[in-house]
Amino acid sequence: MIPFIQTTLDGLMVGSSYGLLALGFALIFGVMRRLNLSYGPSIMIGAYLGTLLYIKFGPPTYVVAIVAVAGSVMAGIYVERLCFAPLGVGAGVASMVSSFAIWMQLEQASLLMLPRHSYPFPSLTGGELWSLGPFVVRPDYLIMLAAMLAMSAALTLLLYRTRFGLGLRAIVENSLAASLSGIDVERTMLKAFALASAIGGVAGFLVLSANQQVTAMLGMWATLKGLIAMMIGGLGSIPGAIVGGLALGVIEAHSQNLFGPQVRDLAAYAVLFVLLVLRPGGILGTTAVRRGMGQRGGDRWTTT
């Protein structure tokens, strides 16, 4: 029983990093109904800028964190301006393909900055382990869990208690009606994109400081894990992102424990496929969400 609980704990801890990544994804997907494949590479740009600074000058960790978040916000705005703003509302697939093109660009830019496969990254805690009775936890991941809960609470407040959030939800509901009632759609979307990238930047920083190294796989890893976690949890829903992230972590940990490390990712994809087919809205996707998506599917390339 104790190994089982320990595995679940490990899964929950890794899952909190997936949940953080999924939060940013959920925001973009919730607002734009678009798939931003460049989400991970934007995080990578920020992380690599932070690492470059860290290697060259060895600044305090909080400076690295600020640079990482600022860098990923800048990259996120760049992606939004190039891939999402110019292509109209009905161009979901085209913007997905262009965000893939920018993915290659951002990844190459990161590799030009730091060409080796992996680099050290400052740790927040020194990587120690805490024992709670028979169980072992890593404080790095507890920070991540706390950050995830705090950010999702803040995001919920922002979406449901402020004018900005109201505008955003109005755009999700009907962007034409929103713009007619005086909401600057383009500006609000840009802000939402920047916010999502900032969340991604925080997620990237926390994950890397827990791993104490940054590798060239970061961009793809962040995009895929964030996407899967969001899809498992529920489309564009904030509690869904958390549940999805944690669920993904637990699924991966247990399948690794049962069948070996090579089955880890395979199990995640299999669960995702089955879940998407059986319950397209995700675990927390309500029938209302699904009905709303059905009604919105008039346009040929709308991706909802």
């Binding site: 292509l87 697939v93 993915w103 090579q262 397209p280 909802t304």
Partner: protein, 309 residues
């Protein structure tokens, strides 16, 4: 010269991959599973020629059927979801296929060495072409024969009732359904044909590269597959061909001299092409212009040219 022959081989195989996505895209579905079907085709064909000693033609035929059957089987559950959900569901399937081959280890001892797919190390020793003395040119002709066949088939289909039905489903599902079209059957058929073509491309790919491994069939290849027809335009099969030449010939090989800086420009140029020509490099207007040119050349005295004179 060998460089250009090699490039033409790559263009041929990628055209098959792009055309497989083209079929599916015509019905308005976006599938990121094409790389998965491509991988199935590659592994099945290579195992048949290397392990079972088949000739390449029946081997790639069998590989195409396996890939097509897989596509058919997957499309039934997958097509329950639409749009972005389908993109992610097919992405999950494609990645699952890739990870399956990452773990797939089936080696047979043949003389001194063990041959066959070896998990993460990939599948080496696919030597059908060198063993049978095919020159690069022979291989090239072999590849383009299939490309021409598939393109001709799709071109003909586009002009037949089947093409009209596919496009009707792609334009407006509800309208197509009201017109008595069985939408699910059409989508499943399109996925099956797409999987078949992808399997064909994969089978050929395995033989001319001589070494396949799971990493070649990732998200990047899947995105390339749908990028070709979207970049080229869905109005004609030639759009996909032109997009492949543009991407593989110009962007990848032509800009190779830029070294590490190539990918920076690569992304930007794809973006530029999509912004300048949002309906694809070859769109309905281009086709109309070509047709006008042809008719005005053939009939110098027709109404339009008279008006211009």
């Amino acid at each position: 010269m060998d460089f250009y022959l090699g490039l033409a081989q790559i263009v041929g195989v990628h055209t098959l991959l792009g055309l497989s996505a083209y079929c599916v895209l015509l019905t308005g579905q976006v599938s990121l599973a094409q790389a998965g079907f491509f991988a199935i085709g590659a592994y099945v064909a290579a195992m048949l020629t290397v392990l079972a000693g088949w000739h390449i033609v029946p081997a790639i035929a069998a590989a195409s059927f396996v890939a097509g059957a897989t596509a058919c089987a997957v499309s039934f559950p997958a097509l329950r979801v639409k749009g972005l959900m389908l993109v992610v569901a097919t992405l999950a399937f494609g990645e699952a296929v890739r990870l399956f081959f990452f773990n797939f280890d089936y080696q047979v001892a043949k003389g001194e060495v063990k041959i066959g797919p070896a998990g993460g190390e990939g599948f080496r020793q696919i030597r059908f072409f060198p063993e049978n003395g095919w020159s690069t040119l022979d291989v090239l002709i072999f590849i383009w024969l299939f490309v021409a066949l598939v393109m001709a088939g799709l071109w003909w289909m586009d002009r037949s009732r089947a093409g009209a039905v596919l496009r009707a489903v792609g334009e407006d599902e509800v309208a197509a359904q009201s017109a008595g079209i069985n939408v699910t059957a059409v989508k499943v058929a399109a996925m099956t044909v797409g999987g078949f073509i992808a399997g064909l491309g994969g089978g050929i790919f395995a033989h001319y590269t001589a070494h396949i491994e799971h990493a070649q069939f990732g998200v990047a290849l899947a995105t390339f597959a749908i990028a070709y027809p979207i970049l080229g335009g869905l109005s004609s099969v030639f759009g996909t061909l032109i997009a492949v030449v543009f991407v593989q010939g110009f962007l990848i090989e032509g800009l190779r001299f830029l070294g590490d800086w190539r990918n920076l420009l690569f992304g930007g140029l794809i973006l530029l092409a999509m912004n300048v020509r949002p309906r694809g490099l070859i769109d309905a207007a281009t086709i109309a212009a070509v047709k006008r040119m042809r008719t005005s050349n053939k009939e110098p005295g027709n109404a339009r040219t008279q008006g211009a004179e």
